[in-house]
Symmetry: none
């Protein structure tokens, strides 16, 4: 059974950054949170703006708390903006419903989430998916 350890989290973040460099993305920040929504590891690349923890966290936290990756959260936000605004309020503002919030799963089981921010939301998500794959983890973006 796959478990989310600090070592795995660290590898996923490192591989996400490798992919960002390979694709020429702007400086990235990435967080791995556990199945309870709590931070395991976070890194912010030099040159990223100071608010990146909050955004990375918001993407990952929303994914875990709603059981819905960033793409699905964004679709819901576009469909029912008032719903996602209310969800944001209900979770103390800590939900950012756009791509880059990636569920880390083992089949049906949610292990946690990876949150990536720094470039466009789609590029953030693509880098994160590559990072999870390189770390031997399965992601849902």
């Amino acid at each position: 059974m796959t478990e989310l350890t600090l070592e795995t989290a660290r590898r996923a973040i490192a591989a996400t950054f490798d992919e960002g460099r390979a694709q020429g993305l702007r400086p990235l920040s990435a967080i791995v949170i556990d199945a309870g929504g709590h931070p395991l590891a976070f890194e912010r690349q030099d040159g990223a703006s100071p608010g990146r923890f909050v955004i990375a966290h918001g993407k990952a936290y929303g994914a875990v708390m709603l059981g819905m990756p960033g793409g699905a959260m964004m679709a819901r936000a576009e469909d029912q903006p008032y719903f996602m605004a209310a969800i944001n309020g209900a979770f103390g503002g800590a939900v950012v419903p756009v791509p880059g919030g990636i569920l880390i799963v083992d089949g049906d089981r949610v292990l946690g989430a990876l949150g990536v921010t720094g470039d466009t939301s789609d590029n953030d998500a693509a880098a994160g998916m590559a990072g999870l794959k390189a770390a031997g983890l399965e992601g849902k973006a």
Copy 2:
């Protein structure tokens, strides 16, 4: 290497107000925050409404935390209103995504931001840009 000191901040605010007077703008308020988003100096001209600190701060704070000046924040808010609403929640409500939030930069390095409010957002931004120039600082609006 340019540094943001209290003396520089004070000069930028004074020159912003000078420009406002020269252009016949309504009473302005202006804040300078550092690269971590923390206030260095703030002034509210007589006749301005009492909530102006919060607005000036929100413009400057958003610019620093997202690494994105007011014009870019507004474009994103118009494109994806639910995203900027969520960002605002994630930063405790302290982001005001309109022109008048001006990044103070030294080439690629962000030194802080100037937030200006009181007239139209575009006039606020123009006064702030003139103020930064007069103080020998480079701005991105």
Copy 3:
């Protein structure tokens, strides 16, 4: 009738900093807020820690909202800690009940408050009282 203008606020802050320098105090930060508790002017001296706006504001804001200068707030906090904790909660955390929160008065009328922070609370208050006097204002510490 004395009025609190931006010009007066700026003079009070400058004179507070002059007194701090004369007394060899650590870098100070000072805010002047109006009778509604809203910022008129703030300055943070180079070398002060980034959180000084929040502390200076909390001293001045508590003084205006409770109609009680820092010395009286501290006496009450020492006498009834649970009361001041509750007050802090009721005002969203924005009350710091120690010396350095100085009411600016004209006889019985409260014009606003000066908040000073950076050295010991007593030194903060002494510098602020000297600053108000130099600016032609009457303070209650």
Copy 4:
């Protein structure tokens, strides 16, 4: 001039964990924040309780915002409990005033802080000081 980079932060955290293992401490969590109080890197060792990000952050954040390491914050909290309670409120609850919040300095200049939690506060602080030293950084606990 020493700068706090992601690479340095990562080394400080790794060396803090090495020291924890060498001393037989319980699983540690450690964060490095920059001079504006914003997260650069965080890691939580396997087996640590889920709330450790919040505690590590609170120690480091308090140190930076007040310009005061954990030992000094604790002394102030013991001397004036109502003051530290109010400060905590003013900073949105995000200050944890005990050892383990270590200022990272370059002479007089604050570069950021390291926050360590998981064992006793004193052991947390000792591991963090060893970690900073191994990473070539100067700490004030």
